[in-house]
């Protein structure tokens, strides 16, 4: 029965579940980030690089950002639904929201997977 609630016939349930799952991912990442900062206490550029460069941390950061994109989409969409009564204005805002989140996600993906991991950062 629970599984049936998650099929396409009940999109609200899917949204509800996604909001929770992404929240969980972000909460775990946030606690991990705080823990790492407190443990390693990066205090200069070198330390900051070695904090950010491990591949698993960059993958975790990307997972965080993907979750954030979904979470923000659902959340801001709800705000628009409640506070923008004009349907065409709301539609426009929702499109703008989606574009913004995709741009941020592309930026974050490049930052985490390519930029933060490149070895020549240390040389510069």
């Amino acid at each position: 029965m629970v599984i049936e609630l998650l099929t396409k016939r009940y999109p609200g349930m899917r949204a509800w579940l996604m909001q929770r799952l992404t929240a969980l991912v972000m909460a775990i990442y946030s606690v991990m980030a705080l823990g790492r900062i407190l443990l390693e206490q990066p205090s200069d550029y070198e330390a900051w690089l070695s904090f950010s460069q491990p591949w698993w941390w960059r993958v975790a950061s990307l997972l965080f950002w993907i979750s954030l994109s979904i979470h923000a989409w659902l959340g801001i969409r709800d705000v628009f639904k409640d506070y923008v009564p004009n349907a065409s204005v709301r539609g426009l805002l929702l499109k703008l929201l989606v574009v913004m989140l995709w741009v941020y996600l592309a930026w974050a993906t490049w930052l985490f997977l390519a930029y933060a991991g490149s070895a020549d950062l240390v040389l510069r």
Binding site: R20, A23, A27, S30, D44, L49, S52, L111
Partner: protein, 145 residues
């Protein structure tokens, strides 16, 4: 055929009545006219802080990229943190994050039917507000020490 048309007309007028009723439904989303109990306060702050956090996303990415790009830029970003104005901004944003975090955990707890009676919910609301402020104060201590 004639009958059918009449039926359709009757249905249509019924429909338009329903639509009119829908339009005339009282709706009050103006937050400034509502006296909010503590649970409502935590809830609306969860929403407001969520919006604030969404707005600063590009800033977050920009600062991260800048801080990684070179030692000079890293120093620049760290130097930013020495100005009082930026520190206060950061504290405000940190509070937004902490409140959203703790209020979100409260939501998750309620989803699994934990702390759902009115008195318990009031208690967790106070706890969320307190923890948000406490975490922000701890950050303030770190920033100024």
């Amino acid at each position: 055929m004639q009958n059918n048309n009449l039926d359709n007309n009757a249905q249509n007028s019924q429909k338009s009545k329903q639509q009119a009723a829908k339009r005339n439904r009282p709706k009050n989303l103006n937050l400034f006219t509502i006296r909010m109990p503590i649970n409502a306060l935590v809830s609306i702050l969860h929403r407001v802080t969520g919006c604030v956090l969404f707005v600063i996303l590009p800033l977050l990415l920009l600062l991260l990229q800048l801080s990684l790009s070179s030692a000079e830029h890293y120093a620049m970003v760290v130097n930013l943190l020495h100005s009082l104005f930026i520190k206060l901004m950061l504290l405000g944003l940190a509070w937004a994050f902490f409140h959203h975090f703790f209020a979100g955990i409260r939501h998750l707890a309620m989803d699994v039917h934990w702390m759902t009676t009115l008195m318990k919910a009031r208690f967790t609301s106070k706890a969320v507000l307190g923890l948000g402020v406490l975490a922000t104060l701890m950050l303030a201590i770190i920033l100024w020490s």
